[in-house]
């Protein structure tokens, strides 16, 4: 509509009108310096140019206020699936919000993160630590050290998001890729968007775990400034160059930002306390839109044992006033504000609720309690093949456990010790005792695990007591190191180092020797005994040891080597061949079948998350690597492991690691053990990929996996600054050389 008016007023083309329309339809009012552009008709082109110029100035000025403070965040994560921990990575955006280096971003960017690398606008890189995370609002605060960056840091300031109105211009900023920063422009489409469950449902579900609850307190700013993956955590900026939101969701030309009013508050709590302490009374709310009620807040359910329960409130009650002030939640959009009001009260506050029940009115006085943490810390016990989570009080309530003692099983590695235990341990079982001793929390279990696994030899059985659906069971876990055995060996058989193709009737005729039905030699492998014989490419083999070998069709392609393999006893085979139209006999020494990739010796390295194997004859032939090319072949690379992050790929031939030449599996093992002891900041892998050399620079973090330690401390925030050094994985210390990392240092 605005576009229409603009087009008429200025008489410009539609293409230009798109830009102008944005300016004229509201921005003029909000932007100082732009308010005087109404000119007499006839000067349209000059107007347009003027406006364009002014708009450009406004946008670039606003941009320049935030851009220097915009950062890219690269996160290494550790997840616990199926009883093992696996590394991964994610990236997002963030904004430096203070001169001392606090960075505001989304919690889903930092989620499960163990290592954070910040790229500043000027491309400097620096490590960051987590200050606090608030999954309920999807916000998190990271911290970088200004001293590492010359003392001063650019930062952006918050604007007043409550003053945003539908139609206001906003800019989304972010760095979807490590070095690129982007700005997109749009307008506010909605300032109080909420997400409800289901098609036409009007409930905001507060009973769900984790992600389901994210946004419970949020009236989202919906806008159409384009945002993409990697924009998460980036700022939504007004034309004054102030942060008015944190972009968290988007796609399909629609974006959702957490309003700055909420973000600013959460950021302050996270910086001051490491967490956001909120009040709760234990009710779920349903809007009264479709009910018979005209006003009030409808209680959809009451959590057992909660303040609301204790005060006698029941599901179906309608709260009419809170501390004497009338309250109403008619539409879903009004739920967040109501819940925020309760959450904002100091924990332990007295709250008076007036309500009606079946036409009767009543009053309940209750004391708010702390809103409980949604999710417990997690850990994987690899040699037992299970992952577990601390049981939060919230989880204990939701899962109807008697208390929050023990730890809950979150995943089982298929075929692993916990899976093979009889009876087997399942997800959602609660582990209560280990070797008859009670284990009250995750830390106690990890301690018991470490003590047991440190024994030499490892005990055959561990007695584990667990609860499943109210039944207390005991089982035996047989701990097992994760080592993989060498592959079984193939029975050696005879082999001739030549490749062949079947010569069928028509081909034989056209080759000029219709009687030469057999196998034509297409390659004599160099370095084999066949290469030392008189066998030549082009020879057509028609009999082996006087037994004819005649292919009938293309699917007989493997018949030559099948026949050779089934020979027994002899050292030589006599091949009858046709060469240049003449039949002759060629003696070829038989040698043993070559080791294939499946039989090759393998070695796994946990520090860099790669596995390598010896190079086989067939690898050499595939890659055309001559015998003087030596190394170990990369069999598997974990994408987010240090080698994977450095660019290592499957199929790379590792030839040198730092100063160590790698020619064999034992040499690889030796080099990796030495490097693990030295713990250098950078490890350079020289590899051969096909026929080109590549250098990979890995920057391993020799410090322990933070999450394991965090789990033991029970709280992420407490553990982060000074962790006790531990091997990166509970069972890594045994064979790897990284059993003794240096004391944790500041990153």
């Amino acid at each position: 509509m605005g576009v229409w008016r603009v087009r008429r007023a200025f008489g410009v083309s539609i293409a230009a009108g798109t830009v102008l329309g944005i300016v004229a339809s509201g921005g003029l009012m909000a932007v100082p310096g732009c308010a005087s552009s109404r000119q007499p008709a006839g000067n349209a082109e000059a107007d347009a140019a003027h406006l364009r110029e002014e708009m450009r100035t406004v946008v670039t000025t606003a941009r320049d206020r935030v851009f220097p403070a915009l950062v890219n965040i690269a996160v290494i994560t550790v997840n616990y699936y199926g009883g093992k921990e696996s590394k991964g990575g994610q990236t997002g955006s963030g904004t430096i919000i203070s001169p001392d280096g606090y960075i505001l971003t989304n919690q889903h960017v930092t989620d499960m993160g163990t290592k954070f690398r910040i790229t500043l606008a000027d491309r400097r890189e620096v490590a960051a630590t987590v200050v606090g995370e608030d999954p309920l609002t999807d916000l998190a605060i990271l911290k970088i050290d200004p001293d590492q960056l010359g003392g001063t840091l650019p930062y952006a300031t918050f604007g007043d998001s409550d003053k945003l109105v539908v139609g206001d211009y906003v800019m989304a900023m972010g760095s979807p890729l490590a070095l690129s920063r982007s700005v997109t422009l749009g307008i506010v489409s909605n300032t109080e968007r909420v997400f409800t469950t289901g098609m036409n449902a009007d409930e905001i579900d507060e009973m769900e775990f984790d992600a389901g609850r994210t946004g419970l307190f949020t009236s989202w700013i919906q806008h159409d400034a384009l945002i993409n993956h990697g924009n998460s955590g980036g700022p939504l900026v007004n034309l004054r160059g102030e942060i008015v939101g944190v972009n968290a969701l988007g796609g399909n030309n629609i974006g959702f930002a957490i309003p700055a009013s909420l973000a600013k508050d959460v950021a302050r709590h996270l910086i001051d306390d490491g967490e956001v302490i909120r009040s709760a009374i234990g009710i779920a709310v349903k809007p009264i839109k479709r009910s018979e009620f005209k006003e009030g807040v409808f209680i959809n359910s009451v959590v057992k044992g909660s303040p609301a329960d204790k005060a006698g409130l029941k599901a179906g009650d309608v709260v009419t006033a809170m501390d004497g002030k009338p309250v109403t939640v008619k539409f879903a959009e009004e739920v967040p504000a109501f819940i925020r009001k309760i959450a904002a009260l100091p924990v332990g506050s007295k709250l008076e609720l007036a309500y009606t029940r079946a036409g009767q009115t009543g009053t309940a006085t209750l004391t708010t309690e702390k809103l409980l943490k949604e999710r417990g810390d997690q850990v994987a016990l690899r040699m037992w093949g299970l992952s577990m989570s601390q049981i939060t009080q919230k989880m204990a309530k939701d899962l109807q456990l008697d208390d929050s003692k023990g730890a809950i099983v979150t995943g089982i590695r298929r075929g692993g010790p916990a899976d093979q235990a009889e009876p087997s341990i399942n997800s959602a079982d609660v582990i209560r005792t280990i070797d008859n001793k009670p284990v009250d929390n995750l830390k106690a279990i990890v301690d018991a695990y470490k003590a047991i696994m440190a024994q030499d030899p490892i005990p055959e059985f561990v007695l584990v007591g667990f609860d499943r659906a109210g039944k207390n069971q005991v089982t035996l876990i047989k701990p097992r190191p994760e080592k993989r055995d060498d592959p079984p060996r193939e029975i050696p058989k005879h082999w001739i180092g030549a490749a062949t193709q079947p010569v069928l009737r028509d081909l034989a005729r056209e080759l000029g020797t219709p009687e030469a039905l057999g196998f034509r030699v297409t390659r004599v492998y160099p370095g084999t005994m066949a290469a030392g014989s008189k066998l030549k490419v082009g020879d057509i083999v028609t009999a082996i040891n006087d037994e004819p070998i005649v292919p009938r069709q293309m699917q007989d392609a493997g018949m030559f080597q099948r026949r050779v393999r089934s020979l027994s006893g002899e050292d030589n085979a006599t091949l009858r061949v046709f060469r240049d139209g003449k039949s002759m006999e060629v003696q070829v020494p038989l040698e043993r079948t070559r080791i294939g990739p499946d039989e090759a010796l393998k070695e796994q390295n946990k520090d860099f998350d790669i596995s390598v194997r010896e190079v086989t004859f067939f690898d050499r032939d595939d890659e055309r690597w001559t015998d003087d090319i030596e190394g170990v072949l990369v069999d598997n690379v974990e994408r987010a492991g240090w080698a994977g992050l450095a660019g290592m790929q499957e199929g790379d031939l590792v030839q040198r690691i730092n100063q160590y030449e790698i020619r064999s599996i034992p040499e690889f093992r030796k080099a990796m053990t030495a490097i693990a002891k030295q713990q250098p900041a950078r490890v350079t892998f020289a590899v051969l990929r096909r026929n080109r050399t590549y250098f990979m620079f890995a920057e391993p973090d020799w410090k322990p996996m933070a999450t394991t330690e965090k789990a033991q401390e029970g709280a992420k925030e407490e553990a982060a600054p000074d962790m006790q050094p531990q091997p990166s994985a509970p069972d890594a210390g045994k064979e790897g050389g990284n059993g003794k990392p240096p004391p944790a240092s500041k990153q």
């Binding site: 050696p492 005879h494 084999t528 070559r594 064999s664």
Partner: protein, 285 residues
């Protein structure tokens, strides 16, 4: 070789005979006992085993079970390599899974005795596993050298163990030779009952208890798939029998491999990547 008719007569004349002591190595009796099937079952079952193991791959590990038979007094077990990751080794992409934690369950045993993977023959679909725990007495076994070559139409039998739920009770299944093929090598094709019920890796017998071969799966190799049409495997019913003589030859090779000192072999292999050239000179003795 007995004919159909005589088998039928024997079956008619059958009665519940006294239990025969398990001595699979005993030579076949000169005179046919009545109830061939019952006798075979009693005679052969003690040598039949279940094999429990873990298949470890890059994705994780998987508990698995296979059937097999003890083929010497020292506890050498023959089984199907296809169950031990052999199919993946032949046709799969990526790395074939590695079998570990192998346990041999004799009879209705539930715990099993430790065993190690001795050798595999991917082409023949066979694997050899050696019981790795000292035994108080020699194992009951199937003597593969006591063999027979059946003709098309001859009766053949397989003795196997039922599943865990039935406490691994022994069972016997009969069938007949439907064809003898020579491609990709000489193989006996069994009738459907045996092909479907008899698991791969188990020996098959004639009426006299002589071994005719071992049930297995021999499939085309990668380079033989070229030009393969849909109906290329027409008439194939899921298992084929590798004649006893071929099994004996392959077993001899497996034993030979076992004789080479594994530690020594390991060392040689460890230094092998600087000696890929050397490898060519390593011939079977």
């Amino acid at each position: 070789m007995l004919t159909f008719a005589s088998t039928a007569l024997l079956a008619l004349a059958s009665f519940a005979g006294a239990p025969v002591p398990p001595s699979p190595a005993a030579p076949a009796p000169a005179v046919q006992e009545p109830n061939t099937l019952g006798k075979l079952l009693t005679q052969k079952a003690p040598a039949m085993v279940s094999i429990k193991f873990l298949l470890k791959s890059d994705d994780g590990e998987q508990e698995a079970e296979a059937s097999g038979a003890i083929i010497d007094a020292g506890g050498l077990v023959i089984t199907s390599n296809n169950a031990f990751g052999g199919l993946e080794a032949r046709f799969g992409s990526g790395t074939a899974p590695t079998p570990t934690d192998i346990k041999i369950l004799i009879g209705d045993d539930t715990q099993g005795v430790k065993a190690k993977f001795l050798a595999r023959d991917t082409e023949l679909g066979l694997a050899w596993i050696q019981i790795d725990e000292p035994a108080s007495k020699p194992y009951a076994f199937i003597d593969m050298t006591q063999s027979a070559e059946p003709a098309v139409g001859d009766k053949i039998y397989v003795v196997s163990l039922m599943g865990r739920f039935f406490d691994r009770a022994p069972m016997v299944t009969d069938g007949f030779v439907t064809s003898i093929v020579t491609k990709p090598r000489r193989l006996i094709m069994p009738s459907f009952g045996i092909a479907a019920g008899g698991e791969h890796g188990l020996p098959l017998f004639d009426e006299e208890g002589k071994v005719v071969g071992v049930a297995t799966l021999i499939l085309p190799e990668r380079d033989e798939m070229e030009g393969m049409k849909r109906d290329a495997m027409k008439g194939f019913m899921g298992a084929m029998v590798l004649p006893a003589k071929a099994v004996v030859t392959a077993t001899a090779r497996a034993r030979e491999m076992a004789k080479t000192n594994p530690a020594e072999e390991g060392k040689k292999d460890e230094s092998a990547s600087d000696g890929e050239k050397k490898d060519g000179a390593d011939k079977p003795k």
